[in-house]
Symmetry: C2
Subunit: 352 residues, 2 copies
């Protein structure tokens, strides 16, 4: 079957661009003496995780236990879960997981610490722990070095847990300040910080400028999207993931409707300085996907010199590819414009 | 297992409220002599579709062929697809579907008409066709009665196709004007309009005021959500679908982070006159879910008198329940606060 014969909406991935993106980031990290621990939340596909390791990555990152379980099932054996796990059910699953892979987890509070301690007790396998700190994102993460130190001491007191270091997301100038103070305070306390893990594709190429960083966690770099292009982290030619869609209606001269709505593209918007609407239509860059319903993308063609007709297939670069990846059970993989295979997005929908 | 023991994030559905909502809408339609053809895009669960029929619904509505196929597999045998189908691959699937269920389809252009004609030829089974018109939503739908008449004549010329009438979404005052003119013009042309189908839960209780309407297509009414409550179509006590989530971090006094992000709640916003943020937290109505990442919901607690602690479980009423339903492989169904079962969302992710 040809790509043009696939029913739409369908995500199509260019394997050569993926390889380029993976190789480029790995080379950057090697060049700067940083370890790369890719986040699988973007692709959610074990074959890509294995390729990342083959190219030199030091383990992978998952956001949720359910993602880590899918990856462990596929033979991935060094997994960092960058997310606070809370409660006895998570402890049980973490214990089970730690029996079949080398596991580390990020925490920012004592309840999450208890959960991981419970898992280590139950499994009798060591679990690494990183303390998450806030670099200005105002999401999770402790806000002071004193809190980080208290958690590190708590980790050291629990049998089976190993304090591995610090993590943050995304890396920023504030990371440098926090890490410098932490190194001083932790040294005084006699605690070594082996790992300082930062992340985020938009600022990934500046990671070597973040003093103290030892590890880079990035996800989006495998595919790139409109946001990472807008941020300057990639070019349009490096984007490896496009949603193919069909024009299903042209009710007026200035309006097209495509068969990709929020169920295919997500409702994630875009920084206005990067562009307008819910994705960039290649070849019709002046068109604006101005509104999405679940199965309808309403496109404003008023600024277009030429306009697509009903039945025409369009390629859309998503605003935010990670959430789009999560919406599709499978993706088409291609090379040189030819369909290679359909791959299951095995860790899709693993919210728990 | 108790609901409180289910891992989060997890959607929990109250079966008594579902029954109340289904019964109430059915009674409304019966009272006003309207046929109810529920849209399954909200629940995507065959058992609920069967219950809707038992209560008196005249067939169901699906948005995509893939949804219709799941429902036909489950024995639903009268399906309206309210979406333009384009191209030979869709024609083949529609032909197959028309062999095992009574099928009708909405169209607004001649390419979609060709596709349905091809399906009817291939299957040798009659397919009903409704012409979609725009009632001011500026999405799909013809914008003039003349266009509708031309399509109706086209339908009549193709063997195997049956012109059933007109459809629109959502019903509005503009529906009345269009239908009145269409009735006059179609009568002159000797074409009967058997069905006038309108839809939309927010204005469903006003359907009897839309002169000419014969059928109501509604989906959200089964669960309701923050948007239908905001529009006045339901009360908070009628909402049957909540996302249960856990506080995983409390980095500052004014901030909580919950384990439900855009992968669980979607990024769909809310009309500012209905509320703020990405869902309403029951019991903490002054909290605002102000930002979502894929797995993080960042909650502003600054206006809260009492504040949830790490590990506490919260119930969130989604802004837009249809898209939330689509994000979860399964839902917990409950009665009187007790867990009854876990049900698969069988038509989830059917974008094609």
């Amino acid at each position: 079957m040809r790509i043009a014969d696939l029913e739409t909406p369908v995500p199509v991935i260019d394997l050569d661009r993926v390889e380029h993106n993976l190789t480029k980031m790995q080379a950057y990290c090697v060049h700067h003496g940083l370890r790369l621990r890719p986040h699988i939340k973007t692709h959610k596909i074990p074959a890509f995780a294995h390729r990342q390791l083959e190219l030199g990555a030091h383990g992978i990152t998952c956001q949720k236990l359910g993602e880590a379980e899918v990856m462990a099932d596929a033979g991935l054996d060094d997994i960092f879960i960058s997310y606070p796990l809370i409660g006895p059910a998570k402890a049980l699953r973490l214990a089970e997981l730690s029996r079949r892979a080398k596991i580390s987890v990020g925490i920012d509070n004592s309840i999450a610490l208890e959960t991981i301690g419970e898992a280590a007790r139950a499994s009798n396998h060591a679990i690494g722990v990183l303390v998450e700190f806030d670099s200005g994102n105002k999401r999770t993460g402790v806000t002071s070095v004193a809190q980080a130190l208290e958690l590190a001491r708590g980790i050291q007191k629990i049998p089976g847990l190993r304090f591995d270091g610090l993590m943050t997301y995304p890396s920023s100038a504030a990371t440098v300040t926090f890490v410098a103070e932490a190194k001083r305070v932790f040294a005084e306390a006699g605690i070594a910080i082996a790992v300082v893990s930062g992340g985020g594709t938009p600022n990934a190429w500046a990671a070597h400028g973040i003093a103290g960083l030892t590890e880079v966690r990035v996800g989006t770099y495998i595919y790139h999207d409109r946001a990472t292009v807008g941020s300057g982290a990639a070019t349009l030619d490096e984007c490896a993931f496009h949603l193919h869609t069909t024009v299903i209606s042209r009710p007026t001269d200035d309006r097209a409707v495509i068969d990709a709505g929020s169920k295919s593209l997500s409702s994630d918007g875009i920084d206005p300085s990067f562009g307008k609407g819910y994705g960039l239509i290649l070849g019709y860059e002046d068109a604006v996907i101005e509104r999405l319903n679940e199965e309808h993308g309403i496109v404003d063609l008023s600024r277009c010199a030429t306009k697509p007709v009903v039945g025409e297939r369009l390629r859309v670069l998503p605003n935010h590819v990670c959430v789009v990846s999560n919406l599709h059970d499978e993706v088409a993989v291609s090379r040189d414009g030819e369909l290679v295979d359909m791959w299951r997005v095995a860790a899709r929908g693993k919210t728990r």
